[in-house]
């Protein structure tokens, strides 16, 4: 088993082989992890949260549901989930988001920049960054279309397990927002375990 730790407001990328399991752990609780996935043999085929919503007919995922690519092929399967509240519709936080929503003009760590840096190590350009699977992000939707981001339901040690359905490059961040309920107003670490 491989074990990795993503420090607060950091990100990394790694390979995940077909059949391998990926456990994403909310170490202290209340922390979101953004995930992107790319086919190892053709990274232009990548996780599409839109295709995932379309094929599952739902904004929320349940164990057994699959996550699909922009070419409507299954990339990952949700195997286990001790939380049950995640997000498929929000962009990764970015310098422009911090400027727009919080008036922060200077440097602020962000999932976008962390994705860009992590993907660069695999030769993948930032243009490939799209809407992530935002694990533990507790977005509630209402019948009138209203969307609300509440504090995560995850406590210390809560986790999900995903199974790779083909060879992937996965990028994962510990979300950088300390300014909102998204990460319960503080940024903490995300644990990773990978096994066959």
């Amino acid at each position: 088993m491989r074990e990795l730790m993503i420090e607060p407001q950091q990100g990394l990328a790694f390979e995940l082989r077909a059949g391998e399991k990926l456990k994403v752990i909310d170490v202290e609780g209340g922390q979101v992890a953004d995930l992107l996935a790319f086919r190892r043999d053709d990274p232009q085929e990548r996780l599409s949260t839109g295709a995932t919503i379309d094929n599952n007919g739902s904004l929320y995922l349940r164990p057994g549901d699959r996550l699909y690519s922009n070419r409507y092929n299954p990339l990952l399967r949700l195997v286990e989930d001790t939380v049950g509240a995640h997000d498929l519709i929000h962009p990764p936080c970015s310098p422009e988001m911090y400027r727009c929503q919080y008036g922060i003009e200077g440097d602020h760590p962000s999932c976008y920049d962390n994705f860009a840096a992590a993907l660069r190590e695999y030769g993948l350009p930032a243009i490939l960054i799209t809407t992530p699977f935002n694990i533990f992000m507790n977005t509630r939707v209402y019948a009138d279309g209203r969307v609300e981001v509440k504090e995560p339901l995850s406590g210390p040690g809560d986790y999900i397990v995903l199974e790779a359905l083909c060879d992937l490059i996965v990028a994962l961040t510990a979300c950088s927002v300390a300014e909102s309920a998204c990460n319960a107003y503080r940024c903490t670490a995300i644990g990773v375990e990978i096994w066959k």
Copy 2:
């Protein structure tokens, strides 16, 4: 005033200057039009339905709401809307979607291919295609996260008006799906009017 007609299952791209109004008309009723928008001076900055949902706190748009870019800048403002039911979460239909959801292996017109062809005329690569603003697409969401695509609420002559907030390249399609409720099981034309 410029007038354009998008024939059934076709698409086109055009320039829209800051301050110009764009009227998108459902000519016969029950027809979806997918819209993408790119900044004229830097097309890597483009419509992000995710940023639009994030900034408006809603999956549905109301008159006065703005549509934002991946850099969280406002690109368009919804000025008028005689329908009130549109979509910000579904990918454009694509050959792979028709294969996955309907088992159609051969050629089928698609919004994705129509976008790719229309953008090519402006030198924009297909990698820039993301989730469109799907005008008249009647996607209902429920509090349990379930998503359902129902027949459009638009009748003949119904329309929306958008105002450009900066110089844009806009790509627009008359959606190609005849196999589902999305376009009320038939594909018809979309009318366009542009004026200052």
